[in-house]
Structures are given as C-alpha cells and as structure tokens.
C-alpha cells in the first residue's frame, strides 16, 4: 500500500523508523487479491436474495483512525448509504492507527448491540478475537480498505484490483500522449510488492494491440521520498529526450513529479498521470501540469461497505461466493472468492470534477 502510506501513517506516532512505517502500516490498502489464500468464509445459513433491506439497522463505522481525511470521506459515504436504507449511523475510532487500538471500540460496539460493524483493520490479526466475539453476539462484520484474516469477517470490500489499476493507468497515459510515444514509470521503492505487481500488469496491458505504439522505456524508483522522486523525475527527462509521458502509481511520487514539472520547461509537454489524492493534485490540475489522474473514491468505498453490511444483516447475502446485492446508486455487486467485493475501476479526476472531492 505504498500509494496511500503517507496519508495514513501519520498518526503512527513515535514508530521507530520510517522503514517500519513503510512496511507495517502499509500492509492493507492496496492489498492484492492474491493475499487472501485461506478460503475460510463461514457462510452460515442461506441467503435469500429477495429479502428486503431491514429498516432501523444499527450500522457502526470503525475506521483505522479518525481525523484522517481519507477515512472521514469514506465514513461520510457510509453515512449516506445508511441514511438511504433508513438505518442508524455511528462512527467511532481511535486517533492513532496502531494495531490494537481498535479492540476496545469493537468490544463497546458489540455490547451496544450493533447490527453491523464496518471496519478498516489496522492489523489483520490483532482485532480478530474482538470481531469474533462481536459476531457471536450477532453483529455482521464488513471490512473495507484493509482486510482482516478472512475468517474474522463476512465481507471485505476491496477498493480496486491490481488489474483494474493497471488498465486504468495505461489507458489514461495513452489518452494523454495521443496513443504513441515513449513513456516511463516512476514507482515507489524497487521492492514494493504491490507496486511491482501493478507494473508487471501494466507491461502486460501495454502488449495489447491498441497500445502497440507506446514504448515503456524504463522504471524509476523515487522511494516515496520527495527529494528522490524529484531527482528521478529530472533524470528521466534528461535520459530520455523523447519521453512523452510518465505514470507514477504512488501518491508521493505523483505529487513530487507534478511539482517538478510545474516549475520546469517540460510543463504541459510531458504528460503525467498516476494515483494521487485530489487535494494534493488540485494545484497541478488547475495550472495545467496534469490532465487527469486516478484513485478510488473513498466515499464510494464507504457507501458500498454500508450497503454490503445492510444486505448481510437483512439476510440478502451471507458472504458466500456468488451472492448478489444492490448498493444504491452504485448498482449491483457480486461477492467473489473469500467474501471479497470489489468496488470497481478507480475514479478518474480531472479539471471538471476535482473540486467535488475533498480528501
């Protein structure tokens, strides 16, 4: 989860090294589907697709941490959905995203008789015991953004698949450079698992006939460090005079690259896209440095998680593979293997819509 690490590792105060942050705190967000191998999804009872959504469901959101703009946006999306299904919305959470800080909140929610607990796990194992107790007490458990072990929850709402990111990024850069020319990738660290998985899939994607005129010349690594990303971006532009575009699928890299381009002679001539948050990219979209970039919409993520929880609590679905449910304005979703529901392709942000988002 290199891409959002900077967003959320903030509160992991006094953690000894950035390295620890880079690996530990980043475990969840862009979790690849490959990760969940054990198929222990105990689909108790049978699903009744015709069951109506119950009214008055008590649905609680427990993010990794409160006061984090990403989760605030996600929880507001959840609130919207809960209001739509005429439920009771509640948001609680720790101010610090440490492994065990969520346990006491889960216990409290369980005692309060919540019907659904929607949570983003700070640690895949630490909250399992508490979640299982809550489940025994009758609550349905939905995780979003960062999963627990599959046996500790019914549904995991995954923001995006690695394939979805690769397709989206290649499509964006292709549109911006007019379908032909040299491109490069500015990644995070050379051994970031999720980044490398995406890059491999992007390479596969580039083999498609419609991208045959695009040539990926190199992959540079900015180590999710502003200064290093700056230097790597400069190096790319000097080493490849014909470079037409750069993909930077990491929030730190794309912001640094945009900042560099905006103050250089390459502004507007070399295209840049990647995964970034609207707030950090707003300036560069408005000054014409960046045409469009992408990220999943956290509000939709929370919205979908709330609907999944309501569908579980109403008996429409049990979390078994193949269950279908409708999530309001987002349409119909199907539960995949291990109880995973995928939100869908990332949202693209450009001049026309960027001011509608605040995260």
């Amino acid at each position: 989860m290199v891409t959002l690490s900077r967003l959320r590792l903030g509160a992991t105060a006094l953690t000894l090294t950035a390295l620890v942050l880079g690996t530990a705190a980043c475990g969840g967000t862009t979790r690849d589907n490959a990760g969940s191998d054990s198929g222990g999804n105990q689909a108790g009872g049978t699903a009744n697709p015709q069951a109506p959504i119950k009214e008055g469901l008590k649905i609680a959101f427990l993010p990794k941490q409160v006061n984090n703009p990403y989760f605030t946006t996600a929880d507001n999306g959840g609130k919207e959905a809960v209001t739509e299904v005429k439920g009771e919305f509640k948001e609680v959470g720790p101010s610090e995203a440490s492994a065990s800080s969520q346990v006491s909140y889960i216990n409290t929610l369980s005692q309060q008789g919540m019907d659904v607990i929607v949570t983003s796990a700070n640690d895949p194992n630490a909250i399992c015991g508490a979640l299982n107790q809550a489940k025994a007490a009758g609550a349905k458990i939905v995780t979003f953004d960062s999963d627990t072990k599959p046996e500790c929850r019914q549904i995991f709402v995954n923001q995006v698949t690695a394939q979805g990111i690769a397709e989206n990024q290649v499509k964006l850069i292709s549109e911006q450079i007019g379908g032909e020319g040299e491109i490069a990738i500015l990644s995070a660290t050379a051994n970031a698992t999720n980044q490398n998985a995406w890059i491999e899939l992007m390479k596969e994607e580039l083999k498609k006939p419609e991208y045959s005129k695009i040539k990926l010349v190199t992959v540079a690594y900015g180590n999710d460090d502003d200064q290093k990303s700056f230097q790597e971006m400069q190096g790319l532009l000097q080493a490849y005079p014909n470079l037409k575009g750069v993909i930077s699928p990491t929030t730190v890299g794309v912001a640094a690259a945009a900042r560099y381009l905006s103050g250089s002679q390459y502004k507007g001539k070399v295209k840049l896209t990647g995964l970034g948050t609207p707030n950090q990219m707003r300036e560069y979209v408005k000054d014409g440095t960046v045409d469009a970039f992408a990220l999943w919409n956290p509000a939709d993520l929370g919205y979908l998680a709330a609907y999944a929880g309501a569908a579980l609590a109403s008996g429409q679905i049990t979390g078994a593979e193949g269950d279908k449910f409708t999530a309001g304005k987002l349409g119909e979703f199907t539960v995949g293997k291990d109880g995973v529901v995928v939100l869908g392709p990332p949202t693209v942000f450009d001049k026309s819509n960027i001011d509608k988002f605040n995260f």
């Binding site: 900077r6 967003l7 992991t12 006061n67 540079a220 790597e232 400069q234 190096g235 905006s262 103050g263």
Partner: protein, 353 residues
Amino acid sequence: MSRTDAGVTERPTGAPPAGAGRPGRGLTERLLAVRELSLLLALGALVLVTTLHNDRFLSSQSVKDLLLGCAILVILAVGQTLVIVTRNVDLSVGSILGLVAFATGELFLAAPGTPWPVALVTGVALGAVCGAVNGGLIAVARVPALVITLGTLYAFRGVDYYWAAGQQINAADMPRSFLRLGNQTLLGVPVLFLVALVVVAVAGFYLRSFRSGRELYAIGSEPTAARLSGIPVGRRVFAVFVASGALAGLAGVLYAARFGTLDAAAGTGLELQVVAAAVVGGVAIFGGSGSVYGAALGAVLLTMIGSSLAVLRIDPFWQQAVVGALILAAIGLDRLLALRMAARLRGRSAHGA
C-alpha cells in the same frame, strides 16, 4: 630523522627555512591540499562523465535543477558544520526540518493571507526554539550531543506526528506567492540557491573573522584547554545548537515552498545526508577543523551524485551502494591529503627549530 631530511631535500636550496614552504612548493600539490579545490575537482569529473554520457546534463534546466536540489542540503550542512566544529553533532535537524515544514503549512491553513516573510521568520524562530531545547538539554544533562540529539530526533518527529495526525498539507493550501519562492529564479539562478549562498557567506565570514567564530574551533580542538583559556564553552555550544536549529527551521520553510506536499514524514533520514555532506566536505568529525565552504561543496557533490545516478540510469538497487562508495572515496582522498600535509608541516617545523 629521515623524514625531515626528505622534506629538506625537496626544498629549493638556499631558501630561508621560515618561508621555505611558500614559493617553491609545486603549485598543483598545494592547491590539492586545499580541501575545497579537491572537491571542485571531484565535482568537475562527475559533471564531465555524466555530460559525456548525456549532454542534456548541462542544459540550463538541468543546472537550475541541480542548484535548486542542493539548496536545502547546503543550508543544513552549514548549520551542521558549526556544530561539528565544536566537537558535537546535531542529529535532530531532519526532524526539526519536518516539524517546521509542517508548521509552515499549518500556518497557511490557519491564516491563508499570511505573507511569506512572516512564515519565514516564524519557521526560523520555531527552529531556533528546537535548537535551544537541544542546547539546553546538553548544557543541563552534560551528556554528549550525539545522545541528546538522537533523543530529540525522535521527540521532535513524535510531536510532528501527533500534530499532523495523518493530515497532509497540499500545494493548493499554500499561497501561490510562497510556492513560487520554491522554483523562482533571479537572473537564471534559483532563489533558494541564492538564500543558501547568503547563508554560506555569512557563516563563512563569521567563522573566519569573528573572535567567537575562532573560539568554536578552539573548543573543538581541545575543549578543556578552551575552557581553561577563558572561552565560555557552554554558552558557545548552546549558541551553536540554536543556530543549527534556526538554519534547520529556515530549511524547513524552504522545503515547504519547494515540495508543496507536506506530511509528518517530511525530511525523514535527512540528518545522515547532512552529516555525510559535512564530512565529505572536509569537516573533521572530531571537531576543530573544516569550513562551511567545504561542507557546502560536499552538499552540492552529494546532490549531484544523486542526480547523475538518475541520469546515468544506474540500477536502483546499486544506487545507494554507489553513493556510499563515493563518500568513502572522498574521505579516503581527504585522509591521504591530510597525511601528506601533516608530514610536510612536521618537516617544516622540525627544520625551523
């Protein structure tokens, strides 16, 4: 003594011993002994190799990028030099920079109309306060600065994390005039680099020409002797840490202007680069010698190594190792020159006596 004799035979015959070292010595050799010049040579070689590989390396855009890229490290290296010269070290500069950078962003969030000079002064003041904490703790606890600043490295970063609480400050939150400071040029030279030049010039002049500046070297050479000779060691060391903190604060404000995206992790790990720049620049880690010019050149050299490696497309897995090897080479060269210089000085004084 054979060594003395060797020294004597090298000298032109008939020259008076006292002035012997001056006119006759091979010019290149004496130039090499000046640390700054050997650094300039290394810089030149690096530019040459990289430019031969890719002539865009000397384009105006690229030179501008290089100057911009080294400005912050140069400022930090100057502050670090003041500290190291007194036989101390300040490991907290990266954290101070991060804290001040975030504070600058917060200031603009809280009061969007703040003119940037106010932000600059506030940042420097906050940095100085952090430096005063370092200096005060060292004075009170009488513990080596290495230990104290290792502690404050985490403490300041912790405050930063607590304050930021996962929040990120973005370019859109800061005024355009402030951000422009980060990549504006004056006569083709980035403003940030000009600020760094002023800092180097002022600190260099102070260290060379002021009594208190010379006393810093005395403290670093032999603290006990310095104390006995009436130099207020405690006060000078405290002042040096305040200065280092203030410069880190200045660097923090400039960091905010340059990168535009701020969170609690800004400047993590920078302290080691700063110490490396000073050491590569010929500042003796055990105090008592070195100049801010050398440290500044060391910072330029380190930045340029980073940029060249990116241009030369060195495998990322090798980059850090290459940087390390170059640092060792620079220090090795320095040591070699220092030994030859020492041998010469010994020879001269023996002859004179």
